[in-house]
């Protein structure tokens, strides 16, 4: 079996299984944790909890006006590379074909040339994110292996995808095999590292907002 056959065959099967086990384990495990009951008297109605939670998803996803000068550039960087990643992952036809075979339906993609430009831009932003993490003393102290490996594996998928598209350094099937293999590694790592924020980020903001709303605060 060649590397491409391994990557899109047994390796992908194992990676997908590990991904599903890990994500289900972490979500169910988290959802069933005991919640400490707040014995204080609620300051508002149950409907306000819900609206407070939903509001928090929006307000916590946007820089606060008071701190925009300090946090704005970092948030702009974060949003930019996330949007770039979404476009590259969801709008490149070979990816759509892959996802279509998982979900059973497809959607229109973007021309390859636009995807290539977006990939290079996203790659540049990824390097900028790493530079910021390494040069900012506070961020450097907050960072651990999880942060760097999550960055590395995402970057690896992006770089190998670009190399496969541009036929750089090896035959296409080898590069495509390495690209899919790196994605397999990402799938395996996903539930156990900070990439899991893709599942946690909005529920955690909503819970924080709801808890604050119960106390009468607005997120």
């Amino acid at each position: 079996m060649d590397i491409l056959g391994l990557a899109r065959g047994p390796a992908l099967k194992v990676a997908l299984a590990v991904f599903c086990v890990g994500v289900a384990w972490r979500i169910v495990g988290f959802a069933l944790l005991r919640i400490r009951f707040d014995l204080s008297k609620p300051r508002t109605s149950v409907m306000r909890y819900v609206s407070g939670g939903l509001l928090a998803i929006g307000t916590r996803s946007w820089p606060h006006r008071q701190f925009i000068g300090r946090t704005g550039p970092g948030e702009a960087l974060g949003y930019s590379y996330h949007l770039g990643l979404f476009a590259v992952v969801l709008l490149f036809t070979p990816h759509i074909v892959f996802l279509g075979s998982l979900f059973g339906f497809t959607w229109p993609g973007l021309p390859s040339s636009i995807i290539t430009v977006l990939s290079v831009l996203t790659l540049t932003l990824f390097l900028a994110v790493l530079f910021r993490r390494v040069t900012n003393r506070v961020m450097r102290m907050l960072s651990n292996f999880d942060d760097y490996f999550s960055w590395f594996i995402t970057m690896l998928v992006l770089v190998t995808g670009l190399a496969a598209t541009a036929h750089l350094g090896a035959p296409y099937e080898t590069l495509l095999g390495v690209h899919i293999l790196s994605f397999d590694v990402l799938l395996i790592w996903f539930p156990f590292g900070k990439l899991m924020h893709a599942f946690y980020i909005f529920p955690s903001r909503a819970i924080n907002g709801a808890v604050l709303a119960r106390k009468g605060a607005v997120s």
């Binding site: 060649d2 491409l4 056959g5 899109r8 065959g9 047994p10 992908l12 099967k13 997908l16 299984a17 590990v18 991904f19 599903c20 086990v21 890990g22 994500v23 289900a24 384990w25 972490r26 979500i27 169910v28 495990g29 988290f30 959802a31 069933l32 944790l33 005991r34 036809t93 070979p94 990816h95 074909v97 892959f98 279509g100 075979s101 998982l102 979900f103 059973g104 497809t106 229109p108 993609g109 973007l110 021309p111 390859s112 040339s113 036929h167 035959p171 296409y172 099937e173 495509l176 899919i180």
Partner: protein, 371 residues
């Protein structure tokens, strides 16, 4: 067919009334097909005119004769000009008039007279199961014939994916225990001209290149001439702009198919297949499979028959039946894995709650009434 091995090619051409000018044009066309520099045509012509026709022994083993059918449809050079003017085809049990003992005697004589100098062309894989009994000629197994013929060969040209990589007989479950030539013969230069079948001009061009230069051409990692197998079909495909524009045919009869858009989503293996189909094409440059609306099957690559469905896109998962994973199969795996994960989640939450409960429970060992 063994006549004239010492006769120079130039003398034969003169006898046939072919002018030097016509021969240079012919060689230039062949050199062009091989992507050789423009000046090589004249060099090839001059060298060929001075050279005796090399003896060629063509052996067919476990195959469908498609490769030979392809070879007989070569336009540049044509099969007639190749075997009458350039090479001396001393044995080919399909093309030769002789049969039985006379044919085998011609082979033995050619191999004896040209020991160490003849070119051995092989099409078909070599079955080794049942003591080699799945493919015999003249009462001898193809393994024996190949080993004997390989001893005195200057080089072996494997025509077709079966002789080059095992091909369809080699595919799982390989009931005849078939092997490519390279697995049987290890001590001779081997040139693989893969394809199912190979492009006729690639077969004749490779033979011509070897005969002209007397050297093995530059080969890729699969021992294929780089001049013909150096670029992927995808890179040279006339539908490539549609791939770049994101325009794909979704089925064989939709608007995309009618407009000639890229066949990637219909399983085209052009990106991973190295051959000259998109440049030399077939039937004298008329067209090639993709031009006829069908995806490339990747027939020039090793194990092409076992690489999953021909109609499954290259980027799609490939672990299900016939190498094509259906959403249902994927859902089964994902569902089973998610259920296992959920059980793990319940268990870990239970353990966590138990720990919390224990840490909050007043200890019975605490001394009472100390105050």
């Amino acid at each position: 067919m063994t006549r004239g091995n010492t006769e120079l090619v130039g003398e034969i051409l003169l006898r046939h009334g072919i002018s030097r000018r016509s021969f240079i044009k012919y060689c230039t066309a062949a050199a062009s097909a091989m992507a050789l520099p423009p000046g090589m045509g004249a060099v090839m012509a001059e060298q060929l005119r001075q050279a005796p026709r090399p003896s060629v022994v063509y052996l067919s083993f476990q195959e469908c004769t498609g490769c030979l059918e392809s070879l007989t449809r070569s336009f540049a050079p044509t099969i007639e000009s190749l075997i009458f003017d350039v090479i001396s085809l001393d044995y080919d049990d399909t093309l030769m008039a002789a049969a039985g003992e006379a044919a085998e005697a011609a082979r033995t004589k050619a191999m004896h007279d040209n020991f160490g100098k003849y070119v051995l062309v092989v099409d078909g894989s070599v079955p080794t199961g049942a003591g080699g009994g799945y493919c015999t000629a003249g009462g001898r197994s193809s393994v024996d014939i190949l080993r004997e013929a390989a001893k005195g060969a200057a080089a072996i040209v494997c025509v077709g994916t079966c002789s080059a990589f095992g091909g369809i007989p080699f595919a799982d479950p390989n009931p005849t225990d078939a092997w490519p030539v390279s697995a049987i013969v290890g001590d001779k230069p081997i040139i693989n001209v893969s394809g199912c079948p190979p492009i006729p001009e690639v077969i004749t061009g490779t033979l011509l290149q070897f005969v002209t230069t007397g050297k093995i051409p530059d080969l890729d990692e699969h021992r294929r001439p780089k001049s013909f197998f150096g670029t992927s079909i995808h890179d040279r495909c006339y539908r490539r702009p549609f791939y770049d524009q994101g325009k794909f045919a979704k089925s064989f009869d939709d608007e995309g198919a009618r407009n000639g858009w890229c066949l990637f989503e219909l399983g085209c293996k052009g990106p991973t297949t190295y051959n000259s189909c998109a440049t030399i094409k077939w039937n004298g440059g008329t067209s090639f499979p993709i031009e006829s609306g069908h995806p490339c099957l990747g027939c020039a690559e090793p194990n092409f028959w076992d690489k999953g469905s021909f109609y499954s896109p290259l980027s799609a998962p490939a672990w299900g039946k016939a190498g094509q994973s259906t959403p249902l199969e994927i859902l089964e795996i994902a569902g089973a894995a998610a259920a296992a994960g959920a059980v793990l989640g319940v268990a870990s939450a239970g353990v966590s709650r138990l720990r919390q409960h224990r840490s909050e429970r007043p200890s019975g060992d605490e001394p009472m009434g100390e105050q």
